[in-house]
Symmetry: C6
Subunit: 273 residues, 6 copies
């Protein structure tokens, strides 16, 4: 049940089964070339549009292990790089996920990097210029990344406030790729596959999702993700009434505003009933 | 008297007696299907309307242990996941309640999750997508949740300020279920059962509660909870004068404003005298 | 001289002599019923009006030990619940005052609870619903409170700012009892007993206190407490001139404003000279 | 050279020589009565007007040791009460100055108490009501203060901002005594004694000080202290030109404003030349 | 793979191969004279214009090791100077990069020094006046820098806000050298060499870069760096369509604004198609 | 290379060679008298006007060791006074620079004292009144300063904001001495001596410095320091073109504003060409 990150067991971070992924455009080719050119990549796009799935797919195709770190306000350099821990009467160094990724030549994915503390964005600088090194200041070591190592960050432009934007000196170290929700036909295909819902219902759920997404910045902070569509589908397949499922999975999670909930309810009714 | 959380003694977290719970609508079916579909659930609703009781009931019905964590501003990832502690001359890892819940396949309930520090909301992300894993970064381990594990959070939309809202990338990982105070007849039934108050008094207490709740956002920050109704009932049963009991349990705890206390007093008088 | 809190020496926290307390109203009966119904109690009222004395009296009457914690901005959950301390080469768990109170079935009094950090207000939640348990997360233990355990908090509504109010989800866990300065005749009796001042002087000091309290919110932040009245009495009994005593104990401690001090001085002169 | 605070060596904190102090009014009697009545005292007054000297004098007269703590923004309860320190392989408790003062029955002087962190003002509460105890939470001990223990705090009302005022629940635990600069004749006497300056020069320095103090709140934040007067006297006695001495000790330290410095210079010239 | 910073292995920090660098003006002579005169140097200029490369080149020419520290908000004096670490049962001092640089007579480069905490800017003061010493307060040592030691900081004037400017007492310790993007012909040469792109495409990429840089402060926070130009070139050489490469490397990384992206796209189309 | 501060090696802090210093006025006499009268001194003046050099000169003349501490936002009392450090299995006390200075009777110079945390300004209070003691609270010791000990602080009035001013209760413990840039003839002498530049060029550099200093508060935050003048001289002597040297040492370090740089450039051209 428990897997050890730290003994360079490369195999464990490999994606063993091919993840289900249908390309949105030329993103696969661009990612492959960036990998070949050893360029760091930034994935830009809204919540739940498939960035994580895409990376799992690319890690599978490129046959590289994938190490994911969800960034947050309290994530420090030590959390990424490693720290000394007391074991018995000795202090033992423990690699952080970024150090492990550099050592085993993995794809390291820093999800929502803008949330991390500033020191963590600086620690990746030397990995993203032609030096491709990771200085581990606490150990006085500099590790050179192998050619297979790749750094990927994600970033949701809609969220950033003035105070929480990435510095240009960080941004300009990545090529950037835009992501968005899949096209309707494609999303319908994904929805059917992942939830088992029938074709007709899937079509209606997609239609509803489209309409909800059009309300982004017109009362909704964010559109509805593919993930929530799949939740709705799963509830329906498990016997929940379609309107109940839509309420629980596609309306209540995305807004607390009663009037907006009412509007979304009306849109749903017009589609399903 | 003291129960050990940490040795995976699954049994201890089981609810042994059936909790008293009367359904408000179809919430039981929805919760069962979510459990079956392995979907994380968010309970939305005001203070003291029965969310905790509902969860105890569902844990009893689903025969799963229930581990509850009351979230607060200083709750860190380590508080949830675990930490190394010095025992004698060695550091020993101690699982946090979330890790225990994942290991024993419990229902883990994060009460008022929005109060927790941001790092704690990020740590639940990998548990709420199709990976269903809990990375324990300090140990370099990744634990896969068994099918029986379920994550539930609660959230009171009325309280959230701009600064303290959940991120959409967190919200969109849950199906949401609304909760509210029970319907009058139902609440009266609960009140009689829990406090032992007679039917007539119970009816009047309910009537008063209804009128108080109507003042929410018209001078009252929040309505009066079922819990306070029961407190009033208990005091009355123990021989306290009904108006004294109402003052102590239903008026003074919910507002410090003298004029508002006076108005509530008048409403109470009109009902009881 | 030093008493050990931690070895569950119940006896030490008992109030051995009957504290001097004259009831203001029906507060004794209400408190007894709350104790009997195992309801948590919130005492609301201004500084120095006798809340602490009342609790000592109730602890004496109910024959329960009393453990008091003065809350402040830096009071943490660990300060209440306990922590591991290094003793020799081992870490030893040390119960905090709340844990001790739960274990020995004491009345635990959190004075000015609103001053404490938010995590401490959350830790009392499970003690104040029907579970009546105290989770000690650092030890992985859950302690069930015996029937004799009672939680009491105090709260001065006049002080609270928007940022420092108790959350409704905390407030609605207590029945509330209002406290105010004792009625003049009663306060005079207390003053004579505690300071030894003669009846005539006591009457004039009470008259002055009444006039000062009427200025609350009209230039004075707070009225003068019974404690300061007793200080004035003690100084007079020890031979200090009455006006000097009044200045030192009843005027200068409560305001720095020169004009207000002058007004209070004039009121005092009109009464004493 | 180094004196050990911690082994209860009472003697070391005694003031051995009678400090030079000339009473301003009836402050000595008031302080003696407060000591006798075991009342805590608050000294109110501007910087450098003799509060510390007064306390040294009273400690000498009352034959009690004096322990002084200069409060500041980072002063914590542990700094006052004590903490565990690692010595060799064991943790040893080390009393803080307040605990030492309670144990040896000293006068404990918290200078500028309003500067301390809020937790420190709460820790003195139980010492200032009729319990007269000091709870040492980290050791689980409660120490009862002997009758000789006395708590004194100082407080400069001119400085306090809204955010940094003492809480009424703290203020109302002290009797208050006002202090101000000594009367001219008295200050002249002090100045001559402490600096050795001749009578005529002393008179002129006092005249200048009076004029400077009149400018408080009219361009000057604070008047000039007796200490700075003595500095000026000392420089003059050591051969510095009187105007140079006045500039260095009485003008430049109290204001950075060039125009105000000019005005003070002119006043000085009109007096000395 | 791992290099040890700490054992004064001077050789490891030497730049072994001559870095590719084409002078922009007289910066090489100025730097050599500053090195000879033992003057600290501040490099001023935008992100990605070649400051780091210049320093690598100068370190190679002057045959000095180069130690680089990327500064950030959480960089402390200890991170620069060193700290005690627990190894087994002993604490061992570990030099920080600045101490190492002083000891081995390296060029120490503090990149974006303004980002560091204030204590770090003060620690470099004694190294930048005629004392040329580094006090290591935690060890009670003062190290004198050898003549070969040189301190260099970088600073991007465009970024600094009022709150994050360097103090004049820090700034006035450095001679300052301006850097900017290379002249077009020179940048084209660099671009061809580093990416392998053909001459015609390189010319067009340079033309685009010039136009983008003209938009700085007219909708763009910062111009496009030489680094991003090289990324674009590398993608094109690897077979990515030229417009796709320009989007990924020169448009999306520098702005999130949809309208600005459109404008940049149009400029690119007018040049390439 | 490394000197040990802590074993009271008085000799090491002595200034062995007479520092080059030309008096600006009567500052030497004033300082000597203050030393003789055991008065603490505050040096007021702009960056780089010679305060540090003056102190080195006085320490040399008075034959006292000099210990300098550059203050900053994170400087704590422990940094000044000392702390316990773990060495092997024992904690060993390590004196801070202030304690060392008191013990060896040195001149202790707290440079830019206003930058330090508030607790550090309070720790110097007992050293600056007639007690002349340093309480080491963590060790429970009080050290009496020998007559030779002297405390000196510096302070730049131009910088202080409302939030960062010294408290009057701190300021009024020092006599104050103003410092400013040296008079032109004197500064020219210093410049020639320190940089080796010829007399004519020195005269022009001084002329430029005068004109730049006149722009203080008219677009420049601060004038140009003598140090930067010497830098310019050194570059010129090392063969750098005079205008290049002026740009690098006297224009670019003091302002980032392009228009202001242009104006300064024109002034320089008018003088040198």
């Amino acid at each position: 049940m428990a897997k050890r990150l730290l003994e360079h067991k490369i195999g464990e971070f490999f994606i063993e089964e091919e993840p289900f992924y249908i390309p949105l455009g030329k993103e696969i080719e661009m990612f492959e070339k960036a990998f070949k050119s050893k360029l760091p990549v930034m994935l830009k796009g809204p919540t739940g549009c498939g960035k994580t799935r895409f990376l799992q797919y690319m890690a599978y195709c490129l046959k590289r292990p994938l190490i994911t770190v969800a960034c947050h306000e309290d994530l420090t350099t030590s959390d990424l790089v490693g720290r000394y821990l007391l074991k018995g009467s000795e202090t033992v160094w423990t690699d952080g996920p970024l150090t492990t990724a550099v050592k085993i030549g993995a794809i390291c994915y820093l999800d929502e990097v803008v949330e991390a503390r500033k020191d963590t964005t600086v620690v990746i600088h030397p990995l993203t210029d032609d030096r491709r090194v990771l200085p581990i200041e606490k150990k006085g070591e500099i590790i050179t990344a192998p050619d297979e190592f790749m750094l990927v960050v994600s970033y949701n432009p809609g969220y950033q406030t003035f105070l929480k934007d990435l510095k240009q000196s960080t941004k300009q170290r990545f090529i950037a790729m835009d992501f968005d929700y899949p096209k309707p036909e494609l999303e319908q295909q994904i929805l059917i596959r992942e939830s088992g819902v029938d074709n007709a219902t899937a079509g209606k759920l997609i239609e509803l999702a489209q309409k909800i997404r059009n309300l982004k910045n017109r009362g909704l902070e964010e559109g509805v993700s593919t993930r929530l569509l799949i939740y709705a589908g799963q509830l329906i397949v498990n016997g929940i009434d379609v309107m109940e499922a839509v309420r629980a999975a596609m309306i209540k999670p995305i807004t607390d505003d009663a009037a907006m909930q009412m509007s979304l309810e009306e849109i749903a009714v017009s589609i399903f009933i």
